[in-house]
Every structure is written in structure tokens, then in C-alpha cells.
Symmetry: C2
Amino acid sequence: MSDSPREIEALIETLARLPGLGPRSARRAVLHLLRKRGALMLPLADALRLVAETARDCLACGNVSTSEICPICSNPERATGELCVVEDVADLWAMERAGGFRGRYHVLGGTLSALDAIGPDELRIPQLLRRVREEGITEVILALNATVDGQTTAHYIAEALAGTGATLTSLAQGVPIGGELDYLDDGTITAALRARRRF
Amino acid sequence: MSDSPREIEALIETLARLPGLGPRSARRAVLHLLRKRGALMLPLADALRLVAETARDCLACGNVSTSEICPICSNPERATGELCVVEDVADLWAMERAGGFRGRYHVLGGTLSALDAIGPDELRIPQLLRRVREEGITEVILALNATVDGQTTAHYIAEALAGTGATLTSLAQGVPIGGELDYLDDGTITAALRARRRF
């Protein structure tokens, strides 16, 4: 649309770069925002700027935070001695949504990858080893993705933590709650069969 | 997530109010924005603020604009004497995307509605009548939606414009390009049959 105001076209193009929004839905979102300039458009601009200017990595765990230490690490009720190791912040958020874990986290920032030349020092693995030694961690839960890189990373961490006295565990693999066998991949079914338990 | 930074939760909630985004996709969008703070998050905040502060209704046609007169109205190549009447800016954008129209627009801002007590003076109908008289309009194209309120509004405008000398037309109704009869509603098929043309 050449006869469209430049500023509005620029906003649509920027918004269309968000995951889950394409040019069409970005256009629809901008129309909605234009109708609610004061109630939605300005608050959204302010919220984005505030987060962009204050968001940082938690110095302790690598979670995204607006303070030096994130709310999870600074919550004394969560100093349980359990440390959950995740690849990235999205995984931490998924664990928190599930709500079953009351310990603290350690965000690696990725996985080891020979192809992409990502070694332990590119991730927060040295910090993890230091935390396990210094913070009285009794259990390290490896909540890494069930991918080749995720599992390679898990094995590397397991070796590096041998001898620290911390128990190492990983998330169980099996049939998802509500899952139907007919729709599951073969790998999951095989893993669930191997890890079968007495009924 | 009680242990999540307040500012980030507020951003997710605000973003989730956009059409097409729910809480889950808003969360995913915020993770993406956090990874691209400088390249995407701040530019988006700035683009939103700029549009929120400069967007206004074009004084001539009611289109959204960042100047007193919108780029379409101020484009001399579009002063063709053809005026396309649409309900809202979304419809104007749809017409512009289609790209077949090179005249100018008039945005009513809604449709007449007895139920919602919306009369001609709540819409930009008086301005339309004035424009048709004063701007040398030769054809008024009624591109209103094929709804009861849309067609009521079209009939009202047609009566009000009787005697101005301007030709009144409306968008053709029929089978959409690429449309299959089997999937079309009965009303459209009947309208297409009634408006059949020699092959």
C-alpha cells in the first residue's frame, strides 16, 4: 500500500516479525490498536520499553529478570537444595507453568553442539559446577530436551558432577497425560515400555 | 507465575489483548522479544508510541492518517471523481490491498443501526453528502458489507444522494474467484445466479 501512512506501515512490518503473527494478523492487530490508542497502544509501548530497558540475566541462574537476582533465586522458600537444569528461559517458564517444582533453576543458555562449536564455556556450565559445590545442592534435576544435543549435554554434566555428592535425576519419559498410544511416536512408546512400573 | 518479574508478566498480559494472540502466544512473543531487545523490542516500542501519538482521522475522508489529510486524499493522481464509500478503515485497507481502485474513499465509521441508536449524524454521512456536492464526484461506489445493517445504510445513502447527479454503484455479488459452488452459501449462489451474464 503505497498510499498508506509510512509510520503505520512501519509498525505493521515490525509487528509482523513476532512469532505467530504474519502480515495479515499484524495488520488486524494494528487496526485494533488504533481503535484503543490510550487504553492499549500506549500502555503496550510503555510496557515494551520498560522491559527492554530493565530485562537482564539473573546473576545466579541465568533466568530473565528485571533485578540482579531473579524472583525465584531470591525467594527463600525455594532454597530447597534442588536445582533444576534447563536449556533456556522458555523451558524454565514451562516448568513454572506446570507448577510442580519448588526448588531453584539453572539456565544453561543452550546445549553443547559440536556442529555449532558450542562447548561448556559457551554455556553456563562452569557456573553450574560452582553452584553445586558451593550452595549445598543435594539434587540436580536435568530437565533438558529429549534431543540428541540435549542428551549429550546431560551426559557431559553428569560426568562433570560425579563426585560432588549431589544426586542426579532427569525427567521421566513416557506417555503424556491424556495421550493416546495411537498418536504417539514409536520412540516415546518404547521409552514408556522400558520404564514401565508395577500397576 | 508468582515468581516471575512483574514487568514481564504485565507485558505478556498487555500483548495477549491483541487479536490473534492468546496468553500462550504472547508468552512466546515476549521470549522472542527478550532475545532481540535492541533489534526488535525497542523499535516496536518506538513504532507503537509514534503511531499512537500521531495517528488521527483524515479530515477529508476519515481514513487513519498521521497527517491532517491522508496520503490517498492528498495524492492528486487519485482525484478521479470516483468516491468509494466503506464502513471502516479495515475495509479501506482491504480495497487498497486488492489494488483495483484508483479513486478516493469516504469512511463512514460504522453502519446505521436502530438497535444501537446509530443514526446518520453518528456516522460521516453529512460529510459524504457535502463532498459529493462540492468535490465534483461523478460516481459513488457503495462498498458496504453485505449485511442487513450494511445494506440498510447503502439504501439510506442512495436516497440521500438522489438528485446530486452522481452515479451510484455497488460492488458486484457473486462467486469468489477460485470459489467452489459446493462450499458457497445459498445466498451467494442465488445472488450470482440472479446477476448472471452472457458467457
